[in-house]
């Protein structure tokens, strides 16, 4: 018997999606540029069809969408879309429908529970959030004394490798005598993972609670360590107060440091290439600030990779992919570190804890010699007078 593939249209799903996205998928005319620009095409023969996902969203079809969870929310597709469809937003809405139908991937619900119980997606005890800083004597944020709130975030608080970013940043802030405070154990998880995994109502709840904490504590300028936290504060949080301004730390440093007479005096004689994190670059167009900081480090030579700025290749860690397994031959970061190695640089600089994890893993598994990954904060801290 001949089998016929057919799709079941479901008005209810269609209406749910329409309400969730405000009809964002409707303008799509199915040109397929999104599929062509998706980095999954670089690692898979049969690419992941973004176009089909959007078509299904238009029709209200939800079937076996395991591929829905592949999206790293890198936004490589969005700038190329001739109809300006906010593709990532549509994917997040589709993911939410899967949550509602309890059809997500194994492991993802416990991730959300960790955010709920532990205030972090890393299954770490909330009481240990400030453990990384026990010896640093960090001041609790006080709006009368501190111009900025330094928002550390869950990864830099708990991940041993990422803690080094936070340590470096503290060193830099102290060297420049920047008045800053932290929220310590009261620091709320920003909820970015929850948003990217598509649990929209829970994210709204987190964002409202977080905004209230910032409001009550009188935060006006917030400097975030991770571009992921920065992005949600900037684009997805309700208004904290009239002057609330979230900044990524590279942006902040680029704007406040007097580059003609800076504390960065020690020479860092290395050839460095910069990997733009998606949530700093493509999603928020902050291409310049990280490069300003790097170019002003004495001795440092900055070279660009073949794909940089808006074309920068995703490390593979966004969109909740940090918590999902990626097959060994399908890791974007493998391609990225090879690209970096081909520039002759000995350092990949980046400015995101997820990128560091993915890129370092690839350097190790591909056994690339003479190449290491450093965060801009780590490089800058090395340039401070000893």
């Amino acid at each position: 018997m001949e089998t016929v593939d057919y799709l079941v249209l479901d008005d209810e799903i269609w209406e749910e999606l329409l309400a969730l996205t405000g009809g964002a998928a409707a303008p799509c005319f199915q040109c397929g540029v999104c599929t062509a620009s998706c980095p999954w095409g670089l690692v898979r023969g049969e690419t992941f069809s973004v176009r089909k996902l959007i078509r299904k969203a238009q029709l209200g079809v939800l079937d076996g969408q395991e591929e829905l969870w592949l999206c790293t929310t890198c936004s490589q597709c969005e700038p190329n879309c001739p109809r300006g469809v906010p593709i990532v937003e549509v994917i997040q809405a589709l993911r939410y429908l899967m949550w509602k139908r309890r059809a997500t991937l194994a492991g993802l619900p416990s991730l959300l529970w960790s955010v709920y119980w532990n205030n972090n997606p890393w299954f770490q005890p909330p009481s240990q959030r400030m453990q990384w800083a026990v010896t640093l004597d960090l001041p609790a944020f006080d709006p009368d004394q501190h111009e900025i709130l330094l928002y550390i975030g869950c990864t830099a608080s708990y991940d041993r490798r990422a803690q080094s970013l936070a340590h470096s940043l503290i060193q830099i802030f102290r060297a420049f005598q920047i008045p800053f405070g932290v929220l310590g154990e009261d620091e709320p998880c920003c909820g970015e993972t929850v948003l990217r995994l598509g649990h929209l109502p829970y994210f709204t709840e987190i964002a409202e609670a977080g905004a209230k904490i910032f409001r009550d504590r009188g935060v006006r300028k917030l400097v975030a360590v991770s571009p992921h936290c920065y992005d949600v504060f900037l684009n997805h949080y309700p208004e904290v107060n009239e002057t609330f301004e979230p900044l990524h730390y590279t942006e902040y440093l680029a704007s406040v440091v007097d580059w003609d007479d800076s504390q960065f005096q020690e020479s860092f004689d290395r050839k460095v290439t910069f990997h733009d994190p998606c949530f700093l670059g493509r999603r928020n167009q902050r291409y310049e600030a990280p490069r300003v900081v790097l170019e002003n480090i004495p001795g440092l030579t900055l070279v660009e990779m073949e794909n940089f700025g808006p074309d920068s290749l995703c490390c593979g860690g966004g969109g909740g992919r940090m918590w999902m397994e990626t097959a060994p031959d399908e890791r974007f970061s493998d391609l990225r570190v090879q690209e970096a190695a081909s520039t002759g640089a000995s350092v990949i600089a980046t400015a995101c804890p997820y990128c560091i994890t993915c890129l370092e893993d690839s350097i190790k598994s591909l056994d690339i010699k003479g190449l290491e990954v450093l965060d801009i904060a780590e490089i800058a801290a090395k340039a401070l007078p000893r």
């Binding site: 492991g107 890393w122 299954f123 041993r160 397994e325 994890t357 893993d361 598994s365």
Partner: protein, 340 residues
């Protein structure tokens, strides 16, 4: 709140244990609960009963008595040969309403969890799931169940003062197995059951025992990283000696030395062994989250600065490839001498 099917006033001062069996063999956790139950029953002057369901299973009765049961209630029927939640709930509910025990305990195995949840609803009582300790107050007869939550950071102590039975599922491995006394004498009570196929919507078509690995339940986990250069046979030997299982970090899995189900960590399994060996593992954060709930960690790495040592209770700075064979040899030697 709705009253339970039988009240505190109607209870019998007994502890009942559901005796979980697979293929006609009692599960270890059921024997662990009997061992603990014996202790609680003795302190309170109560009796300890076991509830055994299956088909041609009477040979297991003496085993349960040897581990401390005073009385075994047994139900045998071809339809009870393999666990189905429908049939088992039906029989256990009838038995509980008849015997009215004050306390009813199940192992927190997949079957035990399935059964206990349904029973609690049917009996209109509470259920403390996945308990890690039990106390029974001899005066009041109140059971206190310990439940750990939030990554082990918080302990909740739960009581059920107004509803009966006081039900808990017990996490496997938390109570030590008591000594088996083959000469212990107990009573057997054969239950009369009425059960027909039409009552069981679940049809057992075929029972397949998968090759699947479940590292979450292993008491001893021997993990290997890049540093053991794919020599998982060696780790398996060590694990076998300690009745444990083998896990791995991501790199050896990627390199095909071991199957993906054995990957421990953020994108693999999170384990709670009593003891974990980390062999040739540097200690990246995404691995460490997989063993952070281990009671005790032994790390073996040639690099004294490896981050894994910050998470370990015993730190051995040595090449795992040299150290482990020596350890295996020592354990074997020790065993031979103690057997003489």
């Amino acid at each position: 709140m709705v009253a339970s099917l039988y009240s505190v006033d109607d209870e019998q001062k007994t502890i009942w244990v559901f005796l979980d069996q697979v293929d006609g063999e009692l599960e270890r956790v059921s024997l662990e609960i009997l061992s603990k139950g014996r202790q609680l029953a003795d302190e309170a002057g109560w009796s300890l009963n076991g509830l055994l369901l299956g088909h041609q299973i009477s040979d297991q009765v003496q085993r349960a008595i040897a581990y401390g049961a005073d009385e075994i209630w047994i139900a045998e029927h071809p339809l009870l040969e393999h666990f189905t939640v429908d049939a088992y709930t039906h029989v256990v509910e009838k038995a509980l309403v008849k015997g009215r025990p004050s306390v009813f305990l199940c192992g927190a195995t997949p079957n035990g969890r399935d059964l206990a949840g349904r029973l609690a609803v049917r009996l209109r009582t509470g259920l403390n799931a996945d308990c890690t300790d039990l106390r029974l107050d001899p005066q009041s007869g109140l059971l206190t169940s310990e439940v750990t939550g939030f990554g082990g950071g918080v302990i909740a102590l739960l009581e059920s003062p107004h509803h009966r039975p006081q039900m808990s599922t017990v996490r496997p491995g938390v109570f030590p197995l008591g000594d088996e006394d083959p000469n212990r004498v107990g009573l057997t009570h054969v239950m009369e059951i009425e059960i027909v196929e039409g009552m069981i919507p679940t049809k057992l078509i075929e029972r397949v025992v998968g090759e699947g690995v479940d590292l979450t339940q292993t008491p001893v986990l021997v993990c290997g990283g890049r540093g053991i250069e794919g020599k998982f046979d060696m780790l398996q030997e060590l694990a076998d000696l300690m009745h444990g299982d083998v896990g791995a970090t991501r790199p050896p899995v990627d390199e095909g030395h071991i199957e993906r189900e054995r990957q421990v960590g953020q994108t693999g399994v999170v384990c709670r062994p009593k003891i974990a060996f980390a062999c040739g593992i540097s200690g990246a954060f995404h691995f460490v989250v997989g063993i952070q709930d281990a009671d005790f960690v032994v790390a073996i790495n040639s690099d004294p600065n490896a981050p894994i040592f910050e998470y370990a209770d015993i730190c051995i700075v040595d090449d795992a490839l040299q150290f482990i064979p020596a350890l295996i040899e020592d354990i074997q030697k020790e065993r031979t001498t103690s057997n003489d």
